[in-house]
């Protein structure tokens, strides 16, 4: 069972090293440097991103996430496109496309499309809104660990921007055959893809840093005396990102 007390038992002989960071792609250990506005720390061995300054972005994420929910609703209730063929019109929503795949007997493929374009984006947005609102409270948000890990795990499977390109290609393909008009959902999908690019660039890992500041200060002192800290380390290379 993963409970609050469970961590403390594990921690009995474990020690956190808050001044160091290991590269997640090559395992090289670097000393953590204070990052300036929008700065990115990169591994000096393999070039992977170690840390990124999120202080400016974290203020923007909540409004962007709320706007994304608005776009998400429009993208899902309105039709994506309508075709007219010999005087007969037919339109489909995103969910309609998923259901017709299912009706073709492709349940697994329909589930994949449903998960990557409807379910996971929605879960991602709702979890972010909940976390970003509740971290301003005094108590640690309920389910914080699980939700942040969920956001990280689902990240590669949110494919709104791929769906947008797919919708454009489907649209162009049809213009050669029938009369086709774009629906409001196609435009909302464009907005959603843009908003999502910004929302998902927020690494939810940062939530642990802002929600538990007192814990870091407490563990910082004894760690400075560990032998590991005296081992030679190269400092992280810091590259500045243009605003």
């Amino acid at each position: 069972m993963r409970t609050g007390t469970g961590f403390d038992i594990d921690k009995a002989n474990m020690q956190q090293l808050p001044d160091l960071i290991a590269c997640k792609e090559c395992d090289a250990v670097h000393r953590r440097l204070p990052l300036g506005h929008n700065e990115i720390a990169r591994c000096s061995r393999c070039g992977a991103e170690l840390e990124r300054d999120m202080r400016a972005h974290v203020k923007r994420v909540l409004p962007l996430t709320l706007a994304s929910v608005f776009m998400f609703v429009i993208a899902n209730i309105f039709p994506i496109a309508e075709i007219e063929f010999h005087g007969v019109a037919h339109s489909t929503t995103l969910m309609g496309a998923v259901l017709s795949l299912n009706a073709e007997g492709m349940f697994l493929l329909a589930s994949l499309v449903f998960a990557t374009t409807i379910l996971l984006p929605l879960l991602q947005l709702l979890a972010l809104i909940y976390l970003l609102i509740s971290i301003h409270g005094t108590a640690r948000p309920h389910g914080l660990n699980l939700l942040v890990r969920m956001i990280q795990t689902f990240h590669p499977w949110v494919m709104v921007e791929v769906l947008l390109l797919g919708a454009i290609i489907a649209f162009v393909k049809l213009t050669n055959m029938v009369t086709v008009t774009s629906g409001p959902a196609l435009w909302a999908l464009g907005g959603l893809a843009l908003l999502f690019a910004s929302v998902l660039s927020f690494n939810p890992r940062y939530i642990w840093h802002i929600s538990l500041p007192e814990r870091r200060r407490k563990t910082a002192a004894p760690v400075n005396r560990t032998p590991a800290d005296r081992a030679p380390q190269e400092p992280a290379t810091v590259k500045t990102e243009l605003p």
Binding site: E25, D27, A28, I83, L165, I169
Partner: protein
């Protein structure tokens, strides 16, 4: 350059907290995720997923992905390649190139790169470590774009259902194609890029005494 493993530390894969004196089955004290020095069983899992993706690659490209029925009793079966050729011959060169890259080149490139990374790790190769690290990053970034054709077919299937006149059905090829995309994405997720450096620069993997 010292690695965390060489210094007896384990980083949390989720919150990046670095821990010392970790025992097996310990969880991260900050976020509660299980701590592993490397992704568990990475090579075996990645090989299994890559091989499965290679097998599915054949039906994905040989079977029809889309079946267009139009009045009267005309039926057109499109594979991934014939869809690209259709765009090219009908003058939509930009779309032909986009679909060719996303549906044909990207899956092939991903499979080739994953096999290269796996073989290089197993041969304990120190050949072009930095370039291999970069290749892995590219594979992680572009993998999702292969889903393009799955979305195109599902939208067309949903849209073109004019009873008695025309209908588009999803063919069995697109299910296999979706499987290739999902399997290759899982394979790049299960591959641990740190193994490349462990095998290529082993002198850093040993603790210094």
């Amino acid at each position: 350059m010292k690695t965390a493993t060489a210094m007896g530390m384990v980083p949390c894969s989720h919150c990046a907290a670095l821990w010392k004196d970790v025992e097996v089955h310990h969880r991260c004290g900050r976020c509660g995720a299980r701590l592993h020095p490397r992704k568990p069983d990475s090579l075996n899992r990645t090989w299994a997923l890559v091989i499965a993706a290679c097998i599915m690659y054949f039906p994905a490209n040989l079977l029809p992905v889309m079946i267009t029925e139009s009045f009267p009793q005309e039926e057109q079966r499109d594979t991934i390649m014939s869809g690209i050729i259709y765009f090219w011959t009908s003058g939509s060169w930009v779309l032909a190139v986009i679909v060719f890259i996303a549906s044909f080149l990207v899956p092939l490139f991903k499979l080739a790169v994953m096999i290269l990374l796996l073989v290089a790790v197993q041969r304990r190769s120190s050949w072009r470590l930095l370039e291999r690290a970069r290749l892995y990053r590219i594979v992680e970034l572009i993998g999702r774009w292969s889903m393009l054709d799955v979305f195109v077919v599902s939208l067309l299937t949903g849209l073109v259902q004019v009873h008695g006149f025309a209908a588009i059905h999803a063919g069995p090829g697109i299910a296999a194609f979706g499987a290739v995309v999902v399997l290759t994405m899982f394979s790049s997720i299960s591959f641990d890029p740190r193994l490349t450096w462990d095998a290529g620069e082993p002198e850093d993997g040993k603790p210094d005494e």
